[in-house]
Amino acid sequence: MVSVLTRKLLRDLVRSRGTLLAVTVIAAAGSSCLVALVSSWLNVDRAREDYYEAARMADFWVDVRKSPVEDVRRAAARIPEIVEVRARISWPAVLDIEGATAPVNGLILSLPSDPERALNGVVMKSGGSFSFGARNQVILSDKFARARGLRTGDTITAVAGGQRRSLVVAGTADSPEFIYLVPPGSLSEDPESYGVLYVKHDFAEDMFGFEGACNGIVGRLTPGGVRDASAVLGRLSKELAPFGVLNAIARKEQFSAQMIDGELQQLRSMAVILPAVFFGVAAMVLNVLMTRLAEQQRTVIGTLKALGLGDGRLSIRFLLFGAVAGLAGGLSGSLAGVWMAAGMTELYRFYFTFPNLSARVAPLVIAGACGASVLFAVLGSLRGLRRVLALRPADAMRPPAPASGRASVLERRPALWRRMGFRWRMVLRGFARYRARALIAVTSAAFGSCILLLAFGFVDSIDAIVDFQYRKVLRSDYRLTFGDGTGGGALGEVLRLPGVVHAEPVFSAVCTFSSGNASKRGAIQGIREDGELLTPRDSAGRIVPVPPAGLLMAERMAAQLGIRAGDRVTVTPARGEQRPLDLPVAHTVRSVFGMGVYASIDWLNRVLGERDVMTGAEARFLPGADDSLRRAFLAAVVERPLIEAVSDMAREKRAMRKQIDGALMGTAVVMILFAGVIFFGSILNGTLISLEERRREIATLRVMGCGDAEIGSLFLRETLLVNVAGTILGLPLGLAALRFFMTLVQTDAFAFTAVVRPESALFTLLAALLFVFACHGVTRRVIRRLDWRDALNARE
């Protein structure tokens, strides 16, 4: 006798296949996200761990001024948590490339003669490792070599430390230190213009006059030391203080490691949030469907109950149908998820250099996604089940109580109500009758709108940052970095470079800021008080003038140090006698990349006991200059051994844009599609059920001479009202979600603030409307094809 129920349920399910499909698609979206995000997370995480292990990634990095290797080793040996150190030499370099219109910079790093076994070693990709004999060999970071078309045996010319050297390419390699490699000061990779040049240690000693000396240490810690890294590094810094510590960071603060951590963190939270939203909406939509189904089954169920069918078997039958929809969604979504995971892995392979990042999808992940999908489907069926169980056989044999019209709350405001046409009244009273359903529709729309706003908001926020950094704060065309402590005369030399129309000096002094117990390493940028090329701004984007005395400090650093504008801060410079200074903080400023601290260059010179020192310059180039002038400029730059690095700000901005447009737009499009799935699923589910329930009403209107359009407009009003309300409610929800994500990705290296342009709120609304009208097209079709004639004379 159960088969009767099964058959009836099946028939009704087939009839509600449109709605069922909607549920399945939403659940599929959820499980595809789950599979893709979790798999990507596992894959990247595993690839990273393997890589770190195999290529012996360091646990810490310390940059010092030129120091004797022996002294450094001895200092490190006094710290028991340090199990291994490698002293190395690093130096920025400008590459002299004939005919280049954009600068090419590099980082020279020394490697021992056995480079693949060293800490932060390299994994050879092509060519060979260093050979005996030849001294001027270089191993290039692989992506850079490929981007520039450099091969084994080619020769490049590097200018660094006042020296100019020809280097012969021995091979190309990757390193765990630079899984994500970006030029200093930037956030986006640009392999054509920046790479790592690994050279033999003795060659570097020779080139920079560093016999027996180093300016960097990488090392490994005991597990206890890793846990307590900042304390260990504090002690090491103290030991190394006499040599001048420029920077000391643990692995989790290292740029590349941090970027990957951030990415994994994002994947993890997305892997929870997105599927939860989809499964939640799927459960809600299913809830509407199953409740309706329970209503349709009442006679059969009542009869079966009267015949003695137990609640247990009845429940299993009923839930099974919900579970089947969930499983269908879970399986089809997993398939899509495998495909998406492959796509995402491809994207990660593009931006991150892992030796082997495979697009694996663990069966367990698929099982988990299907399980979650089924679980939510069962949850979504529970209310319907409760209806079924509450049904007494006697009730069930009678037809359901006729749906009664009901006054809506609005009717208590007669002035407003009277002005409303009967169509609006029908819609509003319908909501009053099916409150849960209306609530579910509004909530679904709110989730959809939340996802839309997130998609637009991501783009806006990053646009805002790029705009803030490259249009408001950094207004130079080229940034030139000099060797340590050049006299003010260097500015004249910069101004004489071809094409440079204006230049301003910058004095960047590395120091430690401390207040109370908090301390933070950073640098003070000494700039001109009346400068135009580097203009610190507050969070509203207004220029904050550089005071004649005192510091402008990044808000985030001030917050970390627990100080405010007007307070004083202890500054210990990493140069000279390293005497702590007590300096006033005049204002705080907004800083998106790094944590900038600014001061007047003259004042900074004075407080540090220097005269006229500069470490770089910002330059404005002749507007509208052509390539030949740029070539001449770059050719002149490499002739000046003083210049250690040159950045093309426009190019940096373009690289950033390109990366954003590539990765972010893709994500945004996927998210908009996902929002579409939610809107479509929820709206179609709602209207199809409503159409089914209101066949008789539609037939009556048809008979009276209403056309498709008029009948359709009833449904359109309903979906419009619900979805516009939901979308508007979803806007603050989306903003909150955006804020949450922005704090997730925030590190010392960069800070995003959630920005949503008013247009984006409008686009969200427009997109929602677009979905509503697209669905309405489907509704109209269904209405047109509805066989309404039988409904006329049927018993209610």
């Binding site: 009967f422 037939a699 001479g705 006329l792 004379n793």
Partner: protein, 247 residues
């Protein structure tokens, strides 16, 4: 406005308003062809009350649907006011129903989320010169019940609302499919008396479907439908009064 005086001079024209010529309607259900109407020829006069009488399953509803422009015949002509309905497009048929026909069904078919008055207004809004909705309700004796939802009205009251809805459009043709089918005797009599009154005083052409012989006796003309054809036609100038009905 009270029930208006009979139109002009009371000379009842026998002008045929609806003419059915050799109408057939066949339903195909997969392989099987069901011939429900097998050549119906009949006419319905303007301003009169016509009953279509026959047993259950004889094709009454099918025929009414053809007259009302809800369905199309398989063969034959359905002329209403000189226009052959099968020649009209779907859009024109919709227009025809909207402007000229009022329907009353066995199960009222009121919109449950609208009050009685609003149910009438829905129909009234569709035409250019409707009756005032409250007036239509008053005509059916429900002037006081405009604010009630259908769920709060008795079956007879609901049926009267549906009649008010049908006449609010001032239709040329009022088609009633078993309007008393779901009602008890007393309520049924009230509804039928109302239809009779509308026919006499408002001069509405009424087509009444029934399987009951006494009810059919209220009409000026009775078309007896059997096996898909009109077996007999009976005309009378003095039909029975609804109040005298014996059921």
């Amino acid at each position: 406005m009270s029930i208006a005086e009979p139109q002009s001079s009371e000379v009842r024209s026998e002008e045929p308003f609806v003419v059915l010529e050799n109408v057939t309607r066949t339903f195909s259900m997969g392989e099987v062809e069901v011939r429900v109407l097998r050549g119906v020829t009949a006419s319905i006069s303007r301003g009169r009350m016509t009953a279509i009488w026959g047993e259950s399953g004889s094709g009454k509803t099918t025929l009414l649907n053809l007259i009302g422009g809800i369905d199309r015949p398989t063969e034959g002509r359905v002329l209403v006011g000189g226009v052959n309905l099968p020649d009209l497009s779907d859009r024109e048929l919709t227009r025809f129903r909207r402007d000229r026909v009022g329907f009353v069904f066995q199960f009222y078919n009121l919109i449950s989320t609208l009050t009685a008055l609003e149910n009438v207004a829905v129909a009234a809004e569709l035409v250019s010169d409707p009756m005032d909705s409250a007036e239509a309700l008053r005509l059916v004796g429900l002037g006081e019940f405009g604010d009630r939802f259908p769920g709060r009205l008795s079956g007879g009251q609901q049926q009267r609302v549906s009649i008010a809805r049908a006449i609010a459009k001032r239709p040329d043709l009022l088609l009633c499919d078993e309007p008393t089918g779901a009602l008890d005797r007393e309520t049924g009599v009230r509804v039928l008396a109302l239809l009779q009154e509308l026919n006499e005083k408002q001069n509405v052409t009424v087509v009444l479907i029934t399987h009951s012989r006494p009810v059919a006796a209220l009409a000026h003309r009775v078309l007896f439908l059997e096996d898909g054809v009109v077996r007999s036609v009976r005309d009378t100038e003095h039909p029975k009064r609804a109040e005298d009905l014996e059921w």
